[in-house]
């Protein structure tokens, strides 16, 4: 009896011939791109001749790193990112012999929002950076951010404690926010901060990217839905997340007007709303033709990224027509990403 069980078990294990070929597309990366990538993946999978791609999350940095790890079926085919690849990250790719093509698929606005029961925030980008950056200059010295209430920064702001929920450091939303608001909006614009930054040899203000850790800014994890839930419970708190979550919850939460521009679909698409970033997918060249349907999958992005496509329904902001043409061409020709392209 036992012998028979053991023999059949061994037979079972050896008969499951572990096939090394992978016949589905494997994608990983930014949690902001994930909702859009999954929509395309699902649509692509409805075609009976292809399997539905597998889309993993993990954050932009994970997507860019994983796609660069090497060539072969055990590595992913496409890395999603909501912040552009840096030359350093491309070096890692080159070191591993991975060739990529960069395709921009659309834009996403980053909104600072709160419950409709609370006060609508109308704030300049510089003031917003001042409220959230870890250190600010005072008499030429950098001190820990002392502001407790919004109106201490600017009397026109509400008399409420600064309490902002936002994503963790692995998130592309966070990376874009600190670059656009803390660095470019505050340290590169504000007179005192600019001078003080120059004084510490930080011409571009990159050191301002650090967020406060004293409780005014609260990391809430990659789950943007959780932030939305918190805002509904606490009308005095604000949250930082992608536009699609504001779009889905527009009856209960409102987006702050940043530098006199409300975060609406039109304002982000026309580039009037300045806190927005591009969404990228990085495709591994060597896998095209090896993994079935990879090229077709890219073409599916092209079919759906216009204003009346399904992606804009889900809250993605489409590119302008000229950009769409440019990246549609990139999908056809698949130019290899080089450091020179990234500098542009």
């Amino acid at each position: 009896m036992l012998n028979r069980i053991i023999i059949s078990l061994v037979a079972f294990i050896f008969s499951t011939n572990i096939s090394l070929a992978r016949d589905y597309i494997s994608i990983a990366g930014s949690s902001t791109v994930l909702p859009f990538a999954t929509i395309i993946a699902e649509k692509f999978g409805k075609n009976p001749s292809f399997k539905t791609p597998v889309v993993e999350s993990g954050g932009s940095s994970v997507g860019k790193k994983n796609v660069c790890e090497g060539v072969g079926v055990k590595y992913i085919d496409i890395g999603n990112a909501s912040s552009r690849m840096k030359p350093k990250e491309l070096e890692f790719c080159n070191k591993n012999g991975v060739k990529l093509t960069e395709i921009k698929v659309g834009y996403d606005g980053i909104v600072v929002a709160n419950s409709k029961k609370g006060i609508l925030l109308k704030i300049s980008k510089s003031d917003l950076g001042k409220a959230l950056t870890a250190k600010i200059p005072q008499n030429g010295k950098w001190i820990d951010n002392p502001y407790k209430n919004w109106n201490e920064i600017n009397p026109s702001l509400p008399n409420l404690p600064i309490r902002v929920y936002g994503p963790p450091t692995t998130s592309g939303t966070r990376a874009s926010f600190v670059e656009l608001v803390n660095q470019k909006g505050y340290c590169a614009k504000d007179k005192d901060a600019k001078a003080a930054s120059l004084g510490r040899g930080d011409k571009k203000g990159k050191k301002c990217r650090a967020m406060r850790t004293d409780g005014a800014f609260i990391e809430a994890g990659e789950q943007d839905n959780l932030i939305v839930q918190k805002l509904n419970e606490d009308p005095n708190a604000y949250g930082i997340f992608g536009f699609s979550y504001l779009d889905q919850n527009s009856d209960t939460i409102q987006g702050a007007e940043i530098s006199d521009t409300a975060p609406t679909f039109e304002n982000i698409a026309s580039n009037n709303y300045s806190v927005s970033r591009a969404l990228y997918i990085y495709v591994k060249h060597q896998h095209i033709g090896v993994i079935p349907g990879l090229k077709k999958f890219l073409e599916n992005w092209k079919l759906n990224w216009s204003e009346d496509g399904i992606l804009s329904d889900a809250g993605m902001i489409p590119m302008s027509e000229t950009e769409r043409e440019k990246y549609a061409k990139a999908i056809e020709e698949l130019p290899v990403l080089t450091a020179d392209i990234l500098k542009k």
Binding site: L2, I6, L9, F12, I13, T16, I18, S19, L20, R22, Y24, S26, A28, S31, L34, P35, T38, I39, A41, E42, G45, K46, N47, P48, S49, K51, T52, V54, V55, E56, S57, G72, V73, K74, I76, E222, Q223, D224, N225, L226, S244, Y245, D247, Q248, N249, S250, D251, I310, A314, G315
Partner: protein
């Protein structure tokens, strides 16, 4: 004792009684305090549990239901099956969407392009797939006009449930006044009904909440647990038998024992890193498959199985072993004829508890790519799959509001699964257990 007796004899009887009396009150009070602390602790734990269950069930039960609309669809053969061979390829490239929309337009009479665009938002994106599938299963339907029930889009569903309110300003609503007007027409014609969702149990992961279901994740969980069991149960039981019955008590077995106990306390994510490094890195297995997931979870549950199996074996009374040896049984005979049959209920209980823990794990699966959006339902342990807790985690993060209910519904399904597994454990224990 003798000392105490001496004291009592020395003490005045009345005084002794007084001391005891005053102490009795104090001691009783202390008993009462201890008892009420215990009761309070149970009350707190129970109220957490009740709160959890109420919130999950309140949100989850509506998630099992959804709104449907019934439309008379003309299944025109030429338009549904342009190639005329009834192949899936031909049916999926056919005009099913248009046929369904025409049936809808017949009911609500939209005028102009803008109204038609609004009307398109009413139906789920899956409507045409449903038609194609029906025809594929039953080609004799072609050419007939039959009533078919379609899921409504998630926004319409949440409007009909009252989550989207009519009095919210139009610009703040996900659906505009034209769409609401059309929905009202459909409701008035009694074409809309609210019934048990046929997607939640038989659908797979989807970005449209109205057609999303747990089938893919459920099968993924079963496949993963199957691999986990095949790997961990024989190895775990064999290890326990060796350590209890054969191993000499020396330094090496001591080190092995300590390591097994330590392994049981290792955070589960560490096993995921191990799986990534060995199964995917060294053996080159693909990511996201239940085979790798099951092996990782199998290694994770091994220590639990070994420890509980050893406890079960050592709980077998030594008199039974002595009796077996006494009549001349060999070690193997003693083990397989006497010890294991008596220890098996304990071993199985430990295994099922270990497996139940594995069922709830997501952290180790994160590393090996099973925390992912996977639509296709897996047919084997080598096809990409996800598991139930991951499905819950993914749904909790999607922006569409109807996923809130779905998340709780999936949690209920996971709980039912867990209760079933624990029920099997209890049943087996009661059935096989022998008392002395």
């Amino acid at each position: 004792m003798s000392n105490n007796n001496k004291n009592y004899t020395l003490m005045d009887a009345k005084k002794a009684e007084e001391i005891v009396r005053s102490n009795v009150k104090k001691r009783r009070r202390k008993d009462i305090v201890l008892k009420s602390i215990g009761q309070f602790a149970i009350f707190v734990a129970l109220s957490f549990l009740v709160f959890l269950f109420v919130s999950i069930f309140a949100k989850g039960i509506p998630g099992f239901f959804q709104h449907y609309v019934t439309l008379e669809v003309n299944l025109d053969q030429k338009r549904l099956d342009p190639k005329g061979d009834l192949s899936p390829d031909s049916l999926y490239s056919g005009d099913a969407r248009k046929l369904v929309l025409e049936a809808l337009y017949k009911e609500i009479n939209p005028k102009g392009r803008k109204q038609k665009k609004a009307a398109k938002k009413i139906l789920s994106s899956n409507a045409e797939i449903r038609v194609a599938q029906m025809v594929l299963e039953n080609p004799s339907l072609l050419g007939k006009t039959i009533p078919i029930t379609f899921a409504l889009d998630d926004d319409i569903d949440s409007f009909l449930r009252g989550y989207i309110k009519r009095d919210t300003p139009e610009s703040d609503r996900r659906i505009n006044n034209t769409v609401i007007k059309f929905v009202d027409v459909l409701v008035e014609k009694k074409l809309v009904n609210y019934k048990f969702s046929d997607y939640i149990l038989s659908g797979s992961a989807s970005r449209s909440p109205e057609i999303a279901g747990v089938k893919g994740a459920l099968i993924g969980s079963i496949l993963t647990l199957f691999v986990c069991f095949i790997l961990s149960f024989p190895i775990g039981v064999a290890t326990a038998i060796y350590l209890e019955g054969f191993a000499a008590k020396n330094r090496i077995t001591e080190i092995i024992e300590i390591n097994i106990n330590n392994l049981a306390a290792v955070p589960s994510v560490v096993f995921g890193i191990l799986g990534l490094a060995i199964f995917i890195g060294v053996f080159g297995m693909p990511r996201s498959i239940p085979l790798v997931g099951g092996m990782v979870l199998g290694i994770m549950t091994l220590p639990t199985i070994i420890i509980s199996s050893r406890a079960a074996i050592s709980a077998v009374p030594p008199s039974i072993l002595d009796a077996a040896y006494g009549v001349g049984a060999s070690k193997l005979q003693t083990m397989f004829h006497h010890v294991i049959p008596l220890a098996i209920p304990g071993m199985l209980t430990g295994t099922i508890i270990g497996m139940a823990r594995a069922l709830g794990e997501t952290a180790p699966l994160l590393m090996i790519g099973m925390v992912a959006f996977i639509v296709d339902i897996p047919n084997s342990i080598q096809e990409p799959a996800t598991v139930l807790p991951v499905q819950i985690f993914m749904w909790a993060d999607f922006a569409e509001r109807m996923f809130v209910n779905k998340t709780s519904s999936a949690t209920i399904i996971l709980l039912v699964f867990l209760i079933l597994m624990n029920g099997v454990a209890i049943f087996l224990r009661n059935k096989l257990e022998r008392r002395w």
